[in-house]
Symmetry: C2
Subunit: 307 residues, 2 copies
């Protein structure tokens, strides 16, 4: 088992300028697992209620996703409702019902504790630390978070950041976490906690991989957002960005070199670009590695220039 993801599994009601969907498959763990399954074997740890449609579990199994760590408990599945405006920027949350997710504590089945790549999706940092206490010493641990935890659990989040290799956050979250409005300075403060790399997600403006180069100088690497004809639903873009990033690294294997992380960042941007072309995980259902490769080659044409 190569990649382990821990996070939310949800039913989402989403409204965007392109349409709406009721109680569709959602949650960071689901998005990540579906996308990462294109690259490697994935196992998910999460919780659903007894209202969770069995077809969703069957779909995940059909993708070769190991769901033995997916607890099914009495009650209702985590529910989120949101609306995106014309700019398809940040969603406006209309409703959040934690339901069975409120009492969730991740339990990593023994056979998954040896996972080499671990993604701690956006959940309570105390739960992220619980996962870290259960897994062995993976090759790579990556972590996502959000403004809510930055505000309410700053100390726990800081402990978690100290224990991981790669941190993925939005630009605004990095500024909020560090209290520093200069992004470069904020990035340095995050990297000073210990992570090898920081991925700054900038939505339709792409993403930046921040590492420390020679003599501690900040070495940024930029990737644009892959241009999409028509954005349908931005939900899950960040989680599937992480999936492309981690998935590529897991599949590539070997050491975490800068060259590999750069290629991984491009994969993240590309997988996210497919995700937003349809509601929920629907575009990912038919996505193939060959389609990813086509956009990868196109991304080189869109960014490379001669000396």
């Amino acid at each position: 088992m190569s990649i382990l993801v821990v996070g939310s599994v949800a039913l989402d009601s989403v409204e965007t300028p392109a349409g709406r969907r009721e109680r569709t498959l959602g949650g960071a763990c689901t998005y990540f697992a579906t996308a990462a399954s294109l690259y490697d074997r994935v196992a998910m740890v999460g919780v659903v209620g007894d209202d969770f449609p069995s077809e969703h579990v069957e779909f995940l199994c059909s993708r070769n996703v190991d769901t033995c760590g997916l607890q099914c408990v009495e009650g209702r599945t985590f529910f989120w409702a949101g609306r995106y405006g014309a700019d398809m920027g940040d969603a406006q949350t209309l409703d959040t019902q934690l339901n069975v997710f409120a009492d969730f504590h991740p339990v990593v089945p023994p056979e998954l504790c040896a996972a080499e790549y671990v993604f701690l999706a956006n959940i309570d940092p105390d739960l992220q630390l619980e996962v870290l206490a259960q897994v062995g010493r993976p090759k790579l641990i990556a972590l996502d978070s959000m403004n809510y935890w930055i505000e309410s659990k700053h100390a726990a989040l800081t402990r978690a950041l100290r224990a991981v290799d790669v941190v993925l956050l939005n630009e605004s979250e990095i500024k909020q976490f560090t209290g520093e409005c200069n992004v470069a300075e904020a990035a340095r403060r995050v990297l000073d906690l210990g992570p090898r790399a920081l991925v700054i997600k900038r939505g339709r403006h792409g993403a930046t991989l921040m590492t420390l180069g020679a003599e501690g100088a900040l070495a940024p690497f930029f990737v644009p957002a892959y241009p999409v004809e028509r954005v349908v639903d931005p939900t899950g873009a960040g989680d599937t960005f992480a999936a492309g990033f981690m998935g590529y690294l897991a599949r590539a294997g070997g050491h975490l070199t800068l060259a590999r992380m750069r290629r991984a960042l491009v994969h993240g941007a590309i997988v996210a670009s497919f995700t937003i072309e349809d509601f929920s995980i629907d575009r990912l259902r038919t996505l193939t590695m060959a389609q990813i490769d086509v956009r990868y080659a196109a991304m080189r044409r869109m960014t490379h220039f001669e000396p």
Copy 2:
């Protein structure tokens, strides 16, 4: 004479989080000419009042800038006052006094009418058309504009756009001009008017070169903003971006190939990155081509990735 620029010459009072300057040298024409003079011979067409300090003209002459098209008339020089907030985004205009610029009509001296590269900086599109009527058939004409003209002179601006090779606009200006909120669709509408290329400036998010590729497909090329340790004053970033772009092409000579335009875009981003490191044109006073080359090589490291 290689590059001709027509636009505003101004005295600016600027306030940014890094400090303030009173009645310092400004104006699109000045910024462009100063930066482009690093690449090639530049001539400027504009107007100043009798209060314009002679040291500024002397400085421009010291840069080999031909100022024979710079009219000096009775009255006061165009004055602009603005303030930038903590995010160093768009300036808040505090005062605009057109003064001698109000009655300005560009007169291109006969010896400059054969200029091969013409930059129509952000002025009334009717004046841009007056310039086009005076120059011969340059190799390349580029044009900048702004929301004010898009709103008040849409028809004249459209005529000007039909007559130029390269258009440089901000993302919001392109949307405003076309009334289209999808940037790709908006870009296509601008290119359909005739220009070979559209440069979409996105401030701290970089810039995109839009051209039409095979079978009329939109072919974007992305360059990030070169990361600067400390932004002092964003004024003139757009004009010096244009200067790096045009300057590189003028110096390179030859046909307007896609590969050359890409390299030119990177030069634009780099020259702009130097401009914002100090007030007014001050950083450009000491800027060298060797320093530009260092950032050019760094930009490749920040954007390139392996297949």
